[in-house]
């Protein structure tokens, strides 16, 4: 096994791990904002790790360049999308969940 393949396997594994934690957070966190936090943060990191892992097994420079471009594009757009969604929710008047005010969860879940 080449060392590049080992690096790829490790990076892909890490990426999948972060995707998994992101999905778990999306399901388990109490309210809209923390769920989006889980999804947004891990998405940016997981895609960077996965694409970085693929970089080590790319057959030529053209493919590598494209992988880097995709990673950079996603690093810019994913946080922007998260920001836009969060800001829209905030402007819409959705209050964040706190321990003192845990009613938000039921309100959030009541919405289809």
């Amino acid at each position: 096994m080449l060392w590049t393949e080992i690096v790829t396997a490790v990076l892909l594994g890490l990426g999948i791990l972060f995707s998994l934690t992101g999905s778990l957070g999306l399901l388990r966190f109490p309210d809209f904002y923390s769920r989006l936090h889980a999804a947004g943060k891990t998405d940016s990191l997981a895609q960077a790790l996965i694409l970085g892992g693929l970089l080590f097994v790319s057959p030529d420079w053209g493919v590598s360049a494209r992988l880097v471009l995709i990673a950079v594009l996603l690093l810019f757009t994913a946080p922007t999308a998260t920001h836009a969604i969060t800001k829209a929710a905030r402007l819409d008047g959705l209050a964040p969940w706190t321990r003192l005010n845990p009613k938000e969860e039921s309100k959030e879940d009541a919405k289809p």
């Binding site: 030529d60 810019f76 757009t77 922007t80 920001h83 836009a84 289809p112």
Partner: protein, 406 residues
């Protein structure tokens, strides 16, 4: 179970889940987003089948612009679906079941995926390989099929023959893999080169002069009339929407100098938009121009270009967009795209060929003529698609309350 089948099964399962969710979910915003997810999943299925052009179109049109347009439509309707009475409608159920059964029965006649004996490998492609559009008018430049190509007769294999053929293909693939492992330097340079070196499994795609992407060559030359009228259909749809939704502009509304208040507080979004619009535009033009070489073409490129304009209109207000392109200019450009397509056809006729016989554009080198004609035609498609998408978005985004008042 092969990997392709496994991935396909997972994807198709997700597609089914998506479809059921679209039926069940009440919130129409969720439905719009789910239909976008549905399209992206289908794009992955097409990618898995190596039909890149279809995947590209599905992602750009289904996943991208239709979601925007669906959400734009929601401005004019309610946010939630009206709760329907849940009652079993027996005749409707019977009709649906019969249609479904007929469709499934129809698929039994289709060849298996990847079947080397499929009709396409015996009936159309060999014929196309031995002809170009120029051949119809009997000029030079007819491209012969590759040396030693002998179209095999159509045959129906028995089960044993079929299994044998599959086994033979597997063995050949193993041998090819081994050969590539033995010569790693060569294998890494493979990809495109392989297809021309004789190691290809499919017939060479380059049957239409200098246009390597057989899909573009099919769409723009072989069935150029279809594509022309598809463009006309899109143009007509845009015009129909203008007639349906346009309201009379009020006094003073025609000067677009005043700033719209749209999303003026969104600093981050505005900065990102300004950063990315140039790249989106370059990518759109690349996709249109590159359509004859790789996946892409006028439809996908036009949609990508339209996205840049729509993004600008979303973040800076429609007046800002109208300061760049007047509504009138958009309408004229939409007509110009169709005109460019048909004009190329007429130019071919004036130069002595048939309608849309691109080889007539360059008699010295018919292949180059075809490449040029197809690029021009793709630009015609791209201009029409782009402008019509912007027009549809603008018409949908008009404030409905004002429309009622006037």
């Amino acid at each position: 179970m092969s990997e392709v089948l496994l991935v396909d099964s997972v994807l198709l399962f997700l597609v089914t889940v998506c479809a059921v969710a679209i039926i069940e979910v009440r919130s129409l915003y969720a439905v719009a987003m789910l239909s976008s997810v549905y399209s992206l999943l289908m794009a992955l299925v097409w990618t898995n089948m190596h039909s890149m052009d279809v995947a590209f179109t599905e992602a750009a049109v289904g996943g991208g612009i239709s979601t925007i347009l669906l959400i734009g439509t929601l401005v004019h309707t309610r946010r939630d679906e009206r709760p329907a009475k849940r009652r079993l409608h027996i005749p409707a159920l019977v009709v649906t079941l019969l249609t479904g059964a007929a469709l499934i029965y129809g698929t039994f006649d289709m060849p298996r995926f990847g079947d080397p004996n499929a009709t396409i490998h015996h009936y159309r492609v060999p014929e196309m390989m031995s002809q170009t559009v120029a051949a119809a008018s009997g000029r030079e430049g007819k491209q012969q099929p590759p040396e030693g190509y002998d179209p095999p007769p159509r045959m129906t294999p028995t089960a044993a023959q079929w299994a044998g053929a599959v086994h033979a293909i597997d063995q050949a693939e193993d041998a090819l893999e081994k050969a590539q492992q033995n010569a790693p330097g060569e294998a890494h340079h493979g990809g495109e080169g392989e297809h021309h070196e004789g190691a290809h499994k499919h017939p060479v795609d380059d049957f239409n002069g200098h246009v390597p992407n057989s899909v573009t060559s099919l769409l723009a030359a072989y069935r150029g009339f279809d594509t022309m009228f598809e463009t006309t259909v899109i143009f007509t749809a845009g015009m129909a929407l203008i007639m349906l939704l346009r309201r009379r502009r009020e006094e003073g509304e025609d000067d677009f100098s005043q700033k719209g208040a749209a999303l003026s507080g969104q600093v981050i979004l505005r900065v990102m938009t300004k950063m990315f619009i140039p790249f989106i535009l370059v990518f759109g033009f690349y996709v249109i121009t590159h359509g004859e070489i790789g996946p892409g073409g006028g439809f996908q490129g036009g949609v990508i270009l339209a996205t840049a304009f729509i993004l600008y209109a979303l973040l800076y207000g429609r007046n800002a967009l109208y300061r760049i392109i007047r509504p009138r200019t958009l309408e004229i450009l939409a007509a110009c795209g169709v005109l460019l397509y048909a004009g190329v056809g007429v130019a071919c006729m004036l130069l002595g060929g048939n309608f849309l016989d691109y080889a007539a554009l360059n008699t010295a080198s018919p292949g180059d003529g075809e490449a040029m004609g197809m690029t021009l035609v793709e630009y015609g498609v791209g201009i029409t698609v782009c402008t019509v998408m912007i027009i549809i978005f603008n018409q949908l985004a008009e404030e409905p309350s004002k429309a009622k008042a006037s």
